[in-house]
């Protein structure tokens, strides 16, 4: 399928000299559900601002829907919908009028617009409050209204900047189901940014992990996890143990068959390996050899957080995976609660 977004070596340097986006390149085919995963300040919002014609890029080339960003920004504005990270609704207007005005800005009018607005109010479950002023809405309702506003003109491409940040789990699940439907049933290309690993894992078919303005990994969530090894072994260690034996342990772990990488985490070590379950016994022997007792050894399928940890050397959110790992037992469940 044709590419909806083509970004080639995009650079965005802010007035103060900060490089918010540092040579990013990627392609998003039409109909894709594409995600940008990264921590706060990684350059996700800046990328969206450039692609949605809000911010002038410093350098690089961008084509959206076959239209060049520099030459035809208006052409791009007609085919995109944008939900910004800050929830932006006009509190003085009713939910319905918010959507009608948004439609007007996209040159829609008359019965076509009215029908579309009704449809979106139904879809977002805002029908009952449609004629109330938006300032009376709850945070989740405002968020849904701003999502509806981005969709009024049936854009071929939507940019969603952290669409579920600040939502309760129930609202988040609702938004997820709207977005899946939008992508699968209407064929809308979705470009989403998130700092939630679970969200990226669940929604995105293709993913780029971005950190400090650079893409550090790209692929489908499954591929990315596969790439770092089939499984992870999480070793929780007493932080006070001597660096000597600890170093020796790391060296011997790396030498085990099938071990891809050994990464230091906050509360111990994470070992990435194929068929990790077969290594547990050997690892226990290793510990005895160097004279250290692990606080726990647990086994988990890798998560996107592991991908992130491997690619950037830090976790997206500090410590959840290891500290939240199951008690010392050999279990096959996915570790880590996000």
């Amino acid at each position: 399928m044709a590419d909806m977004i083509v970004v080639d070596n995009l650079v965005e340097v802010y007035a103060g000299g900060t490089k918010a986006v540092d040579g990013v390149s990627f392609r998003v085919p039409e109909g894709e559900f594409f995600g940008f995963l990264g921590p706060n300040g990684a350059g996700k919002s800046t990328t969206i601002k450039v692609l949605s014609t809000l911010l002038r890029k410093t350098s690089g080339a961008v084509t959206i829907g076959g239209q060049d960003l520099d030459r035809d920004p208006d052409g791009i504005r007609r085919i995109i919908g944008v939900q910004s990270q800050e929830t932006v609704v006009d509190g003085d207007l009713t939910g319905r009028k918010n959507l009608v005005f948004q439609g007007h800005l996209q040159r829609m009018q008359g019965p076509t617009l009215r029908r579309r607005v009704d449809e979106l109010l139904d879809l977002m479950e805002l029908r009952d409050v449609a004629d109330r002023k938006a300032k009376q809405y709850s945070g989740g309702m405002k968020r849904r209204l701003s999502l509806a506003a981005a969709l009024v003109h049936r854009p071929r491409l939507v940019f969603l900047d952290e669409p579920t940040t600040g939502l309760d789990p129930q609202s988040r699940a609702k938004v997820w189901s709207y977005l899946s439907k939008l992508n699968e049933q209407e064929g809308t290309t979705v470009f989403l940014t998130t700092q939630y690993l679970e969200e990226a894992d669940k929604l995105c078919r293709q993913l780029s992990i971005i950190d400090h303005g650079k893409i550090v990994a790209s692929g489908s969530p499954a591929d990315l996890k596969e790439e770092i090894g089939g499984e992870t072994i999480i070793l929780t260690l007493d932080p006070d143990i001597d660096p000597g034996p600890r170093g020796a342990l790391e060296v011997r772990l790396r030498a085990l068959p099938g071990v891809g990488k050994v990464v230091r985490a906050d509360s111990g070590l994470v070992v990435y390996a194929r068929q990790a379950s077969r290594l547990v016994e050997e690892i226990v022997t290793l510990f005895q050899g160097v004279g250290i007792h692990p606080e726990s050894i647990s086994l988990a399928a890798p998560t996107l957080d592991d991908v992130f940890l491997q690619k950037t050397g830090s976790r997206i959110r500090q410590g959840d995976l290891v500290s939240g790992a199951p008690p010392p037992s050999v279990s096959g469940v996915r570790g880590g609660a996000y």
Binding site: S52, T53, L54, R56, D74, R77, R78, I80, V82, S84, E86, V88, D90, D92, L93, K97, F101, Q102, H104, L105, Q106, R107, K133, A149
Partner: protein, 258 residues
């Protein structure tokens, strides 16, 4: 096609601003109350003034109405600036900028909506003045010219508060500068008193005060008749302010939106 499109965009932005205003009874009330307040306070406070020797043969009401129209206008020109600064800071402006809407329509639609409010408050002031017994020497044509001057001056002066707002992105600054300007302009102009009742230095200041030209024009239309020179001066002042404030506003706005 594109000209039509631009007009349509202005119309939509105007429509939104109107819905916001007319959807809020509190705002309407304060708008009209504000317009009335000055009329009532000043004409009551100074009602005995017309007894003074040498005062024009008409009552103080006729003298004051022309000035009060513009004091109200000064007080209301901050609204466009406040709205745009809010939209800039909340991200609503960005929300509009990712659509194909014409950039200048975002400003013009808003200012046009202020124009409606200027007309509204002028109607209230003139209406009450008539109820209180004021007469209009130039009749309906003169009243229409008064509307034109009020709206023209209002739009021109909005450019000043918009410039402050777009340059500072702060509504506090808009309010401080707006208020700081309003009072000196009001009291050093001929808005509330005929020029002969002012001390010499204020007479000099009032000659450079745009409000004097506005008030004189409206007052002349009310009490004596069409005076070409006075009207020409008023429109020249409006044109000059319009040119200065709107070229800076448009320059700042283009810098922000591109």
């Amino acid at each position: 096609m594109t000209a039509l499109q631009s007009l349509q965009d202005v119309w939509y932005v105007f429509g939104r601003a109107q819905s916001k205003f007319f959807g809020s009874p509190v705002r309407i009330f304060f708008q009209l109350f504000g317009a009335l307040m000055f009329l009532v306070l000043f004409t009551q406070l100074f009602s005995k003034l017309s007894d003074l020797p040498g005062f024009p043969t008409v009552g103080y009401l006729e003298i004051a109405v022309g000035g009060i129209l513009f004091i109200n206008t000064l007080n209301n020109t901050m609204q466009s600036a406040n709205a745009i600064v809010d939209e800039l800071n909340t991200g609503y402006l960005a929300n509009m900028l990712v659509t194909p809407v014409r950039r200048t329509a975002i400003l013009l639609g808003r200012v046009l909506s202020d124009g409606v409010r200027f007309v509204l408050q002028t109607t209230v002031v003139l209406g009450i003045a008539v109820l209180l017994g004021a007469t209009f020497a130039t009749g309906v044509p003169g009243i229409l010219v008064i509307y034109l001057i009020v709206v023209g001056f209002g739009v021109a002066w909005s450019g000043l508060t918009l410039t402050v707002g777009l340059a500072t992105k702060s509504n506090e600054t808009v309010a401080v500068i707006g208020t700081l300007l309003t009072f000196p302009l009001m009291f050093t102009s001929t808005a509330l008193l005929p020029v002969s009742y002012m001390p010499a230095w204020m007479q000099t200041v009032s000659e450079y005060n745009p409000i004097s030209y506005m008030a004189n024009a409206a007052r002349t239309l009310m009490v004596s008749g069409f005076d070409g020179t006075v009207l020409l001066q008023a429109f020249a002042v409006i044109g000059l302010i319009l040119l200065l404030t709107w070229s800076s506003t448009l320059w700042l706005f283009k810098r922000i939106v591109s």
